[in-house]
Assembly symmetry: C2
Homo-oligomer: 166 residues x 2
């Protein structure tokens, strides 16, 4: 949200708009930088790693979650990945059509659908994830190595708080 203008410039402008109220600029900086960072990193990873494999962000997350936990129920994929079941259905169909994973009906519960990678899907992830993680490392190394765990924990705490307000 804070783009080409610096935070200080934006602060000055906001103060002109709201002289009488007291605005928490530090909080504003936290959230606006949070959104910009997430967007920028996602775009970066899409460009550097995912685009050449013709994978959307969500498609990659589905493959990743499945790769780690297979065999896995679709509802778990949706929960781990953080998107709706409706979204997942479409992505699964696409990935199944491309031969990267398969759907199977659960034998214990006919309502459930179980997902597994194909060997083609596994081979893809074997090469894709290290490349992905390399870029993740480059991003994380922007902050001092000694501060990365703290940063991750702060973000995790923010997530927990925001999700608890459903």
């Amino acid at each position: 949200m804070a783009g080409p203008h610096t935070l200080a410039e934006t602060e000055r402008q906001v103060n002109q708009k709201l002289v009488h109220k007291n605005i928490n600029f530090e909080a504003m900086a936290v959230t606006s930088n949070l959104f910009r960072a997430a967007n920028a990193v996602r775009n970066h990873l899409e460009r550097t790693v995912l685009a050449k494999n013709d994978l959307s962000w969500t498609a990659f997350v589905v493959l990743w979650v499945t790769w780690i936990w297979e065999p896995i129920e679709t509802r778990q994929i949706a929960e781990e990945g953080g998107f709706s079941k409706a979204t997942l259905t479409g992505v699964l169909s696409t990935l199944e059509k491309r031969g990267l994973l398969v759907r199977k009906k659960s034998k214990e519960d006919g309502r459930l659908v179980i997902v597994e990678l194909t060997s083609k899907g596994r081979k893809l992830m074997d090469s894709l994830f290290p490349a992905f993680n390399k870029q993740e490392t480059a991003v994380a190394n922007v902050v001092a190595s000694s501060k990365q765990a703290q940063l991750a924990e702060q973000l995790r705490a923010i997530t927990k708080f925001a999700e608890s307000r459903d």
Copy 2:
């Protein structure tokens, strides 16, 4: 990306998949928590503040940027807000139809479109932004007050890095 499973559980699973490679789990934690936090906070703000005013996230950002910097050229709105010109065109039309802002052609350069809030739009933002900032404050206060500036700065640096890799 790290959902119901803890990071430790995911680590163990990933190690089983990639015993021979060395994966940077700390970096993985930073990025995955970054995405989850941004999503959770955005959803939280949409629910608590924006939904009752029937505003989408992008619509709010457009109003906010315009409110702060008006009169403003559309290309600046798109840049500050971090979305494409195509997206902006649609959102501007919606907001103009709802009487919250107006488009005017620039007199100096016929290609440019200048945007200003209407008094109705200004009145909306006068009440909306304090409520929004109150929720931002609640989110930011999840981390110690003394650490908020550092967090914002780390996120800003990450943004800068990711965007520099275009």
